[in-house]
């Protein structure tokens, strides 16, 4: 779960990280009023995509009127597929230098990782490896100030600035821990002309699996409307741009199924993991989602381990009976209770495949062949 910049900043501020004064607004008029309190300001689109600046999602104004105009220009914009509905009006910072600092979970090392760079202000992926300082943390010790001091030295900071940087690292780690973060990032961490450090932009991504520990955290809905709807019924779902609707059991199988469709020249419309051991009801729900997408073909690929083939067959027949399925359905069905499942489908006029390859090929053919 990603948090909007303004939420991330609020959390950092509360944790004691220095930030500029800022206000969230929904209208140009509110932006003007905020600017009257704040002074010269940056107006920043609150969307969960990187590179807002380049895409025109950040503008500046020296007067309330300029800030209002900037807000008017940005509100309603489409930024990489997301409509801008909310802005953050933030006091403008004078910049002597831009640093980068983040704490994230390093999957390979299985430890938290502090990354820092004296070359902040661009996406960290664009920074050369030798310009990034990497420092793993021991989860049983955490980030005491000395870690920050070491990193500060490595990025070339000294004296009061090194101390301020070390302090920020400790506070970032507090946020990382307290909010079950996957990533907490300040980029840029601005060095002001007077030497103070200020977090100019912030990201905070929270581990979805830990959301139950953070009931107060405002839920930011990611993804398309359909994705949200399907996830709400507890299924893993990703919208794609093809025309073959796909259901499989298990994330790996679902990915492999998309790959197989692509292999034969088809274009999958979605990723949908119906679960490794789903019974009739959730499977039927998942199927209804597929039907609602108006695909050219529906492809169901089941390897019955814990999932029972007869359950899948029943779910399919149930959906067909209750609401009809106006497009061809290709079913591959093997494994537990395979015979019963295949028989049920055959009686309903559906011939199930035994192998995944030919089934995928057939689905692609029914969708109109190679795109």
């Amino acid at each position: 779960m990603k948090l909007y910049e303004y939420l991330a900043k609020g959390i950092l501020r509360q944790a004691g990280v220095p930030t500029a004064p800022g206000e969230v607004v929904d209208t140009p008029e509110q932006a003007r009023a905020a600017a009257e309190r704040i002074g010269p300001a940056a107006v920043k689109a609150q969307v969960l995509v990187g590179g807002r600046g380049k895409a025109g999602g950040i503008r500046f104004g020296n007067t309330p009127a300029e800030v209002e105009a900037a807000a008017r220009a940005i509100l309603g914009m489409d930024l990489k597929g997301y409509r801008v509905e909310r802005l953050y009006v933030e006091g403008r910072l004078d910049i002597a230098q831009e640093l980068y600092v983040s704490i994230s979970t390093d999957r390979g090392a299985r430890r938290p990782l502090v990354m820092a760079s004296a070359k902040g202000g661009v996406e960290i992926e664009e920074v050369a490896d030798e310009d990034i300082v990497r420092r793993h943390l021991d989860v049983e010790v955490g980030a005491w100030p000395y870690v920050g001091r070491e990193v500060a030295r490595s990025v070339g900071l000294e004296g009061a600035q090194a101390a301020a940087f070390a302090d920020i690292v400790t506070r970032l780690y507090d946020v990382y821990r307290r909010y079950d973060a996957e990533l907490v990032e300040i980029n840029p961490l601005v060095v002001a002309p007077d030497g103070r450090l200020v977090a100019a932009d912030a990201r905070l991504n929270v581990d979805d699996a830990a959301a139950f520990r953070h009931p107060d955290l405002p839920v930011v809905e990611e993804g398309t409307e359909l994705e949200r709807r399907v996830r709400a019924i507890g299924l893993a779902y990703v919208e794609l741009d093809g025309d073959i609707a796909v259901m499989a059991n298990g994330a790996g199988m679902a990915m492999a199924t998309l790959d197989a469709i692509q292999h034969y020249g088809g274009r999958p419309a979605n990723f949908l993991d119906a679960g490794g051991g789903a019974s009739v009801e959730p499977t039927a729900q998942a199927l209804e989602v597929l039907v609602s997408m108006h695909p050219k073909v529906i492809f169901i690929n089941i390897f019955g381990g814990i999932t029972r083939c007869d359950d899948v067959a029943r779910a399919l027949l149930q959906v067909r009976a209750s609401r009809g399925i106006p497009v061809p359905v290709v079913v591959r069905l093997v494994g537990t209770n395979e015979e019963e499942g295949v028989r049920l489908l055959r009686e309903a006029g559906i011939e199930a495949f035994r192998d995944m390859g030919p089934a995928a090929e057939k689905a692609v053919a029914l969708a109109g062949g190679r795109s």
């Binding site: 520990r213 990915m255 998309l258 990723f271 494994g335």
Partner: protein
């Protein structure tokens, strides 16, 4: 021979009275696994499928000689269960639950490292060894056959698909290991490959990877030095960046975790990389033949 688990493995099932725990205890017993104890807050002193129920893993260790645990409690209780099992002295810990907070997993792994405990998962189907007939986890019993192939995968169902195709082709398995679909996991591909490399019965290894992270790239570095052939299949070619494909770990983020990077690394390391799952068995046969010749 096999790796990780075998005939000497004495399993305690944490959460044995839950739906999942109870169902899979029956399945594990049916496979031949020595399930010697279960834990549950309720029905302490009773039995589930004939297996005695205790309040704590410590009692299961002390009274029934349990030396391995498989966790079936809901994700939000799994951290406590995992720490309990490590503290009680089991040697192998299989964490089936999906959706364990990643920072909890890191804490569990740090404790496990100090205590010398092997953690499989979380978000794993578990481990199954054909010799010694020991299964800890949830894979279907009927698809595996004894044979020379070591199988290691992130994903459950996809690995079942491939195991079944191997079995159908007459290529049985020594052990099937699920490292799990989470971003942070106990066993890595390398950990498992090392064990297969050292296992005298394993003659070839099948590795089922997917997008996300760099575990496959790291594995490639080890494969360079392996004497046994490795066949890989990688899922997620059709996945767009920035989207989680079901598994918490299956996401291309900030340019890392792409399928292309993994395929290149594995190919350069000398692994045979199948384009589609159904090609795996043929490549294994070819590899075994090549090695023999």
């Amino acid at each position: 021979m096999a790796i990780l688990v075998g005939s000497e493995t004495r399993v305690v099932v944490q959460g044995i009275t839950g739906n999942q725990g109870s169902f899979h205890t029956a399945q594990m017993l049916a496979y031949g696994t020595r399930v010697v104890a279960g834990t549950s807050p309720s029905r302490v002193g009773g039995r589930e499928h004939g297996v005695p129920i205790f309040a704590t893993v410590r009692e299961a260790v002390e009274k029934e000689g349990a030396n391995a645990s498989v966790v079936f409690v809901p994700a939000r209780f799994a951290t406590d269960a995992a720490l309990e099992a490590i503290d009680a002295g089991v040697g192998v810990l299989v964490l089936v639950p999906e959706h364990m907070p990643v920072q909890d997993t890191m804490a569990v792994l740090a404790f496990a490292r100090r205590r010398g405990v092997t953690v499989v998962g979380p978000n794993t189907f578990g481990v199954l060894s054909t010799e010694g007939r020991c299964k800890m986890g949830i894979p279907p019993n009927h698809i595996y056959r004894p044979g020379p192939v070591g199988l290691v995968a992130r994903s459950g169902t996809l690995s079942y698909e491939i195991a079944a195709s191997l079995s159908a082709a007459g290529l049985g398995q020594t052990t099937a290991v699920g490292i799990g679909g989470d971003p942070v996991a106990g066993l890595t591909f390398v950990d498992v490959l090392e064990r297969f490399e050292a296992d005298p019965e394993t003659r070839a290894v099948v590795m089922v990877g997917e997008i996300g992270g760099t575990a496959e790239e790291v594995a490639a570095e080890f494969i360079h030095r392996m004497t046994k052939p490795v066949v890989a299949y990688l899922a997620g070619r059709a996945a767009p960046p920035g989207k989680r494909m079901g598994h918490a770990g299956a996401i291309i983020e900030r340019g890392r975790g792409t399928l292309e990077s993994k395929r290149r690394a594995l190919t350069e390391a000398g692994a045979r990389v199948a384009e589609m799952p159904w090609e795996v068995a043929g490549l294994v046969r070819e590899a075994l033949g090549a090695r023999a010749g």
